[in-house]
Each structure stands twice: as structure tokens, then as C-alpha cells.
């Protein structure tokens, strides 16, 4: 079991998109993939064509003290995913999980060693994301070539990458997403980020593309929606980077 955490350095950097497309690309490369949505915004399911109205998800079941095994789905392309579930604000406030809950669940699943478990981790620091990050074999932190990401990255470097935790920092890598091709500033910030992060940066940049937005509107991933988009090749390159990293 290869546990892959994908976490945005802050909100709205496109983490769910990266998770969904990475999962689909890995699947296309013949890998076995399970996606676990740990983000309360519950967006990931939309990339896999789940009904808007369907509130099901593991967190919803857990909060109702039910087993979450009933809410695992498989999309048309054969990717298994577990949505977070639509939880209202009040329930979310009181939502809590046991220590080592996540690792217990994964151990219980007892997946074969080649299976990729992709955890869609919320950018906010909470009990769930802490558990996930500790559990991950590798952490992909999604960043945008924007000043707010840059400022976060500089903070991270000063606090030895993540939450003052060296062991997390060691396995963390950065992926630039949403590079706007008509913005000189984006290019410049991307260069600065590459210079700052050196070998920590993944040598693939995902360009901002209208096709990616449209793909979500069509409740699918860009690999399915617009195969001619460069994002398809970029995600492929990223997936190959991931597999070589694990080998």
C-alpha cells in the first residue's frame, strides 16, 4: 500500500482537481487506486460524476455511528473513491475521530502493496489532516505561482517545512498548479518558487487551462473531458514521477 497525501498549501489551489486527475492517470497507467476524501468541502466526488444530491460519505456515517464501508463508490473508469459526505456546520464542529483512526481503517482494509491510497487532505490543520500527513509515505503540497502561496512557502521553509516537524518535511514535495500562461508575474513567481524549493519541487508544472474548469463542470476529469489538453500530459508526467519515486 502506497499512501499518497495531497494537500493544498492553502485553500483553492486546486487540490481536489489534482487528486482526481492523478488518480485517473495512475489508473490509466495500469495502477490500482483508492481515493479517500478527507476534505470537509466534499468536492472530490464531483470529479467522479457522483450525484449532486447524494450526501453520502464516510464522515456522515461515522458521525451517525454507522460503518463507512457502505459509502465506497466506483466511477465509470474503475476508480474506487470514498467521499467525505455532506455534513452541516454544526455536526462538523462536533465531529471527532479517535486517535489513529485513519491508520486503523487502512490496516483493516489490508490492501495489496502496489495499491495507491490517495488521501485528499484539507489545507487546514486539524486532527484528521495531522493523522493523514503522519500516515503518508509521501506528501504532495499543491501550490499556486501566486504571492500568497509564495508567502506560505517561505513560512514553511522558516518553520522547517511543515508544522515544525522534520519527519513531515522530509517526505514533502511541492507541485505548482494553475500556472496562468498569460501572466508574466505567474512565470516569475514560478521561477522564484523553483529557486527556493530546489529539489523539493516536482519538475512538472500544471498549466491553468479552461479545459480543467470545464471538466469539473462536466463532473469529470480533464483526462476524460479534453484529451488534447496539455494537462493530460502534465498529469501523466507527474504520475510517472510518483511511480519512479516509489521505486
Amino acid at each position: 500500500m502506497r499512501v499518497l497525501c495531497i494537500q493544498g498549501i492553502h485553500s483553492s489551489v486546486g487540490t481536489s482537481t489534482v487528486v482526481a486527475n492523478t488518480a485517473r492517470t495512475l489508473k490509466e497507467l495500469g495502477q490500482d487506486v483508492l481515493v479517500f476524501d478527507l476534505n470537509p468541502n466534499n468536492l472530490l466526488r464531483l470529479h467522479f460524476n457522483m450525484d449532486w444530491q447524494n450526501p453520502a460519505g464516510w464522515a456522515l456515517n461515522v458521525s451517525k455511528k454507522k460503518s463507512w464501508f457502505t459509502v465506497a463508490y466506483e466511477c465509470e473508469q474503475g476508480i474506487r473513491f470514498i467521499p467525505f459526505g455532506q455534513i452541516d456546520y454544526k455536526k462538523l464542529q462536533s465531529f471527532s475521530i479517535a486517535k489513529n483512526w485513519l491508520s486503523d481503517q487502512l490496516t483493516y482494509l489490508n490492501l495489496p502493496s502496489e495499491t495507491w491510497v490517495i488521501l485528499n487532505v484539507s489545507s487546514e490543520l486539524n486532527a484528521l489532516s495531522t493523522q493523514a500527513l503522519k500516515l503518508g509515505d509521501i506528501i504532495i503540497r499543491v501550490i499556486e505561482p501566486q504571492i500568497n502561496s509564495l508567502s506560505q512557502v517561505i513560512d514553511s521553509i522558516q518553520s522547517s517545512y511543515i508544522y515544525d516537524n522534520d519527519s513531515l518535511a522530509d517526505k514533502a514535495f511541492y507541485l505548482i498548479n494553475k500556472l496562468a500562461t498569460n501572466s508574466q508575474l505567474d512565470y516569475d513567481v514560478a521561477l522564484v518558487l523553483k529557486k527556493l524549493l530546489l529539489e523539493k519541487i516536482i519538475p512538472v508544472t500544471i498549466h491553468f487551462d479552461e479545459n480543467i474548469k470545464e471538466a469539473l463542470a462536466n463532473k469529470t476529469t480533464v483526462t476524460v473531458h479534453a484529451p488534447e489538453s496539455p494537462a493530460v500530459d502534465e498529469f501523466k508526467a507527474f504520475a510517472i514521477w510518483l511511480t519512479t519515486h516509489f521505486n
Binding site: T181, K194, E228
Partner: protein, 874 residues
Amino acid sequence: MSTRDHFNKDTKLPFDVKLFYIINQSSIAKDWLVFKKTLLADNTPLFSTLVGIIFFAFCYDNHRKNAAKIFRKYFPHVDFQEPTIADIVRFILQLVWLSTVQVNRIEAKNTIINLDFIYSVLTFIKSGVLLPIEKIFSSAEHVLDKVGTTEMSQNDKFISRVYLLFTVLLAVICISVPFTISAQVAFSLILLIVAFLAYSTPGRLPRLILIALSLIISSRYLWWRYYATLNIDNSLDVFFGVILIFAETYAWIVLLLGFFQTVWPLDRKPLPLPKDTTIWPSVDIFIPTYNEPLDIVRTTILAALNIDWPKNKINVFVLDDGNRPEFKLFVNEVGARYITRDDNKDAKAGNINNALKMTQGDYIAIFDCDHIPVRSFLQITMGAFLADRKLALVQTPHHFYSPDPFERNIDNFKNVPNENSLFYGVVQDGNDLWNAAFFCGSSSVLKRIPLIEVGGLATDTVTEDAHTALYLHRKGYSSAYLNVIQSAGLATESLSAHIGQRVRWARGMAQIFRIDNPLFGKGLNISQRLCYINSMIHFLGGIPRLIFLLAPLGFLLFHSYLIYAPAIEILLYAAPTLINNNITNSYIQGRHRHSFWAEIYETVLAWHIACATTVALIHPKIGKFNVTAKGGLIENSFFDMNMSKPYLTLITLNLIAVVLAGYRYFLGPEDEQSTVILNFVWTAYNLIMLGGAISVAAEKVQIRAKHRIEVNSEIIIRKRSGHLIYATLRDFTSDGVGLYMKNSSTLEKNELVDILISNGDKEFSFPIRTVNVKDNHVGAVFENLTIQKQLELTQCTYSRSDAWIHWHKNFTRDKPISSLGSIIKVSFNGYLILIRMLPQFIKKPFLLLSSSISYIKTLLPKKITNNTLEYKDA
């Protein structure tokens, strides 16, 4: 009986399917129908159906489904639907070809008939012989690596001298002892066998062996010529004999010096520069121009500005001898510097010398105005200067991205290495070993101090470049040659321009030979003298070449025995020499020149340089610098009658020789017949080469002003809607691009989009307008690029350091026999061109002959290649 076929239509069962039912093989009837559908049409005549069934029956069971496709692929020229007798011949010949020559490379062998047993036995024998020899040669390589690196002791020196003496003695015996006919046969055979073995193995030892063999056998030939074949009793024989022996001696000297020059190419590697950029020297880049249009020079200037070097240590100067205001405007706009002068004294050399006075850089890099440098040019070349204080010159190859007239008119661009390729691939690298690599006028770096010391560029001759290098070497400075393509330019546009350029070189070299002969004078060591002298006398080859082209007439017309010996003896001496020399040259030249092409190049030039060099040798002051025209168009195909008059004369004379040969063979004395045959073969060879020259003179249309440069890099198209599309950049010019897209329906004609090209860490966008969109291919032109964008574009295209790296990948190692084959083809085309110009009543029988030859050609087997290109050019 009726059944449903695979189209679900009720049909009457055809007889062939019935046949399968009869022989109780109904299971394969379906396979047969597929086979028949693919290979034959629906309504095939009875005959071909029967033939089809026979084929089908021959296929192995498990391959029957794909058999039809394989038949189509491996018998592309056979018409299965309506076969004629000729198709049967084609099929049989192709079958023989596939099962003998091509058997190892095809998957069809399992499907058709398995004949690769013989092939594998042959391969086994071949590798059994070659493997031990390869082992010996490769172990010798370690010993050869140490040559020159270790200091020899007194004792070693003595021993090596003894060896040398012994070797020379042995060589003298081999060369001068007269043999009987049978001894000569044995001797030549042994040498040839050794030569063939050495030819099949790579390495430096086989190279040395081949050179030694060639030296022995050709010296032996020449010795025999002087000693035994001059008939001094007959004045006519002596007259013609001496002329021929002069030409042969010349050829022998050129061969000898050529071997010396290329015995051990240095293959120098770029040296790294120090980390600290403050100690890097300052460089001035000179781009001399005279009358070339700004459109050509523009990219060179932009690329020169893109060269990676500390910005305060590099200056780009455009030296405009044409004094043109639009140049001044552009140069100032992009941030280069403009230099002009009042007169045009001493042409290019004078132009550069003038600029030398007005600039201060430690080094000077010179680019002809169409030679576009890549950004790494200085990084690659400057390291050598910092390592060697005596170094005054670093030269890099001249590479051309457009076809020269030979390549265009013969249509072998990128398939056969061009005339230049040998010089920059082998000769300069060989010169470099002897510290005699010389300046070629462009794509090179000179050190200022030595250059000033010799008085700037030489102005006494029309080849200022070679002469300047000679000056530098005489002063004790050294030179280096780096065989890394770091710039690319335009080839000469027409045959007349090409000949004009070569004539200038020949004249200049003859001038240097006459007024500043490298054999004499101070400062050079013996090997430098030999290298220079070879480069010069190479250009004096016009007259000897003409002698060879006319020699058979000496016997056939004047009945003079130029070589006074029986034909069989001539054959036994000459043939092994020719074969051996060709093998050795083919080995040395490797993939830089294919066998016999040199003959064509030299035949084309022979007459023109013969005149120029003779004049220059008699009166070296005549003749001025001519600017080589480049980047022009040829709107209509035409035959360059002016340039080809000499060949037409030579062809006429050789045709007369053919007629005379027929006359002498049938009507002359019987004991002369063998000599007649020998001379006839010689004439035929001459005619082949002259035909090649003729086909070069037929100028083909050149419609494109800008030559597309093929690349294969991934780019992104950004539509104005914000959609990104992945595409492949197939080719570019400074005006537009050719793209390949998996799905071009997303683009419209005349659509304004941007392309994003990445270069290292950076990505640049350029606005383009699509001109045509068809079948996944998109042609587009750039739309209003600003100066900044033009600079960026040059950076992403011409200036890329890897821009020309893959250029030579298509060139394979020389295969002499197939090379001769393609020359004969080219020559044949040449004669066809000539015949078409003749009056109708003469033309007709010839054209009939040619069409029957091309018909016979369709019968011949076709070579099947498995690596088909994924997509063709836009």
C-alpha cells in the same frame, strides 16, 4: 446451399468456399474470406482466386488471419487483384529477395516460407571469423591509447627506430620487387582479404592497417607504372603516357597526404570555463555583411545577442559594407552596434580589419551574416583559449540547414552527407592533430593580440581565412578545431553560385601556393607544412581529373598505348589498387562521405577550377573576392547550360570513345580486344560520373525563401478562449511554424492563437495566425512580433544549444556498393534530362529505352522497412 456471409446478407456460396467444405475444412473458410477481402477485391476473376487459394494454403495455420496484410506489406508492387505475367515475376523475385537478403528483418518469414536457416549459417560463419579479430583489435586499442602519453626512454627510442628501419625495408621490398602474374594475383588477394577483415571491425588499428595496405599497394602500382609501362620507343606513347603518369602521380601524392592528414583525427572535446565569470575574457562578435537582405541577417544578429556570456563582456557588431540605412536602424533598435566604412577595399577581410581598429574585445568571434550561432557558442569554444595561452584560433564546423545545389538537384538532402561534411567531419579533425586546423572565415573565434600581430586578416589572396591561419601558424601560434555544430547557415543557392565559391577557394589556395608556399618559409613544422600543402594541392586537382576523363581516348582515338602493358597485367595492378583505396577511404570517411560521391563533386568542378588555378599559378594577382549569393529563389526549373558546357563536351568525347571501342573491338586486330574492353569500362565509368554532373546542372525549383527547420518538440497552443491544446512543433522559420495536433478540428483557419514554447526553465508565448489546417497539420505565421518577441523566438528556436545536434542521425556508414548504385541512378537521370532536350526523332528511341528500363525496374524486389514514420511533413 446457402449461408450468411459476414455482411449478414443471403448470398449464394462461392465456389472457393465450397472447396473448403469439400476438403472438410469449414473452420478455415471464414479466415479465407477475410484473406480474400483484404488482398483481393470482391469480384475477382477465377484465376486470381485460385492463385490466392494457393498462397493461402501455404500460410501457417496460426498466421492465416494476418496473412493478407503481410502479403500487402511485403509485396507492395504486386497487383493481386488482376495479376499479369509481370506480377508473377515480381512476386517470385520478391520472394527470393525476402527469403535470402531480408530474411532476418521481417516477420513474414514465419508466415510465408522459412528460409532463414541458410542465413543463420552464413551469419554464424561470418561472426566466427570476425569475433577473434575484433577481440585482437579492441585489445590493441588500449595500447594505442597510450601513444604519445608516456615519455620514451633512450632504449625504447632505439628499438622503435630499429622497427621503423625494418618496416621501411619490408615496404620497399613489397613495393619494388617484380612479381609474376600468379604471384601478383596471390599478393593482391591476400591484401584484399586482410583489407576486408579490417574493414568489418571498428577501431584505430584496423584504420592503420587499411592505410598501410593502401600505401603499399598504390605505391607498388605507381612503381610498376614508372618502371615497366612507359614505352619510350614510340613518341606518341611517351607523350600520352607521361601525361597520364603525371595525373596518376598527382593522385598518389594526394592520397598519401590525405592519409597523413586523416590518420588519427583528434576529436577534441570542449573544455570547461572557470566558475568565476569575472575572469572570463571580453568578446566582440563580428557579423560582416555586404549585399545580403536584412531578412537573412536579422536572425543572425538576434541569435548573436542571445549568446550566453556576461553582458558587460560581449558586444555584437554588424559590419555593413553596403552602408544601408535600414540595417543601421535595426541594429540600433535591437541593441547591437553598427560599423560601416567609406570604401569596400579588400572586401570581407578589409571590412573586418577596419572593425578591428574600432573595437577592443580580447577575442573576436566571426559569423558570416547567414550563420546563426547557438547560445552556447562561446561556452563551448572559449575554454580552449583559457587552457592554452598560445592558442589563437578555435574553428567550429560550418553547418547548412538548406540544401546545396547538389543536394537539391539530386534530391538527397539529409540522406547523403554533403560535400562539406568530409572536410568538417574528418579533414579538419585530422589537421587538428598536427596543429594545422585552419580558419574557415566564419563560426570561429580569433584572439585579438595574435591577429593584430600578423596585421589583421590576410588581404593578399581571395581566401583570407586559410591565409590568415597560415600567418598565425608561422608566428608559432596554435589552432584548434571543435567538431561540435554551434551555428548553422544557408548553403549556396545555385550551381553557378556554388561553382563560383569553389573557384574562389581554388584560386585563393593556388595564390597562397604561389606567393606564400607553406612548404617553404619560416615557422612551420613539417606536419603543418604537409597538411597545408595537401589542402592546397587538393584544389589543383582539376587538370588531373580532366586527364582521367579523357585518357581512354588516347588509345581508342589515337591508338597509343598509354600504359604499355598487356591488359590482364594492367587489370591485376590497377584493380586491387582501386579496390583497396576505395575500401580505405570508405573506412576513414565513415558516415561523412559516401563512396564515389567525391567523384561527382570533383567532376563537376574539374573544368572550372582547372582554369582558375592555372591562371592563379601563372599570375596570382588576377581575380577578386566574389560574394557568395545565398537565400535566393529559383522560380522555374532550368538547365544550367552555361556551367555544363564543359561536361557536354566531355560526354561527347567519351561517346565518341564508345563508338570507337565498338569499331576496334569488332574490326580491329584480335589481340587488342582485351585492351579495348578495359578502355571501354573506363569510358563507361567516366560517362557515369559525367551523367551525375549533368543531373546536378538541372536546377530544380526553389520556392521557399525561408528554409523550414525540422524539429520535434512539444509545445502548447493557447486559444483566445483560454483553452490549452497540446501540440508538436514540427518545423519553424523566422516567419512561421508547422504544427502537428492529434485533433486539429479544435482550430479554425485564420484563427489567432498563441503558442507557448518552453526553453529551459522559461516559457515564452508567441502570437500566430493559422494559415492552413488540414489532417492534423497546422501551418501558421507569426503575427506582429515585437523586437523583444523576435529575440525570444530566436532564443527558443535557432539559438537553442541542441538545435543542430541530431542533424546527422540519418547519415549511416558508407556502403560502397549501394552508393555506386545510387550514383548510377543519379547519372541515369542526368542522361534522361539531356535526352529530353534533344529533337523529337532522336528523343523517341531513347525515351522508349528508358521507359523499358523503368518497367524492368518495377520487376525488381523492393526493400521493406519496418520503421515507418508516424506522421509525414505538413
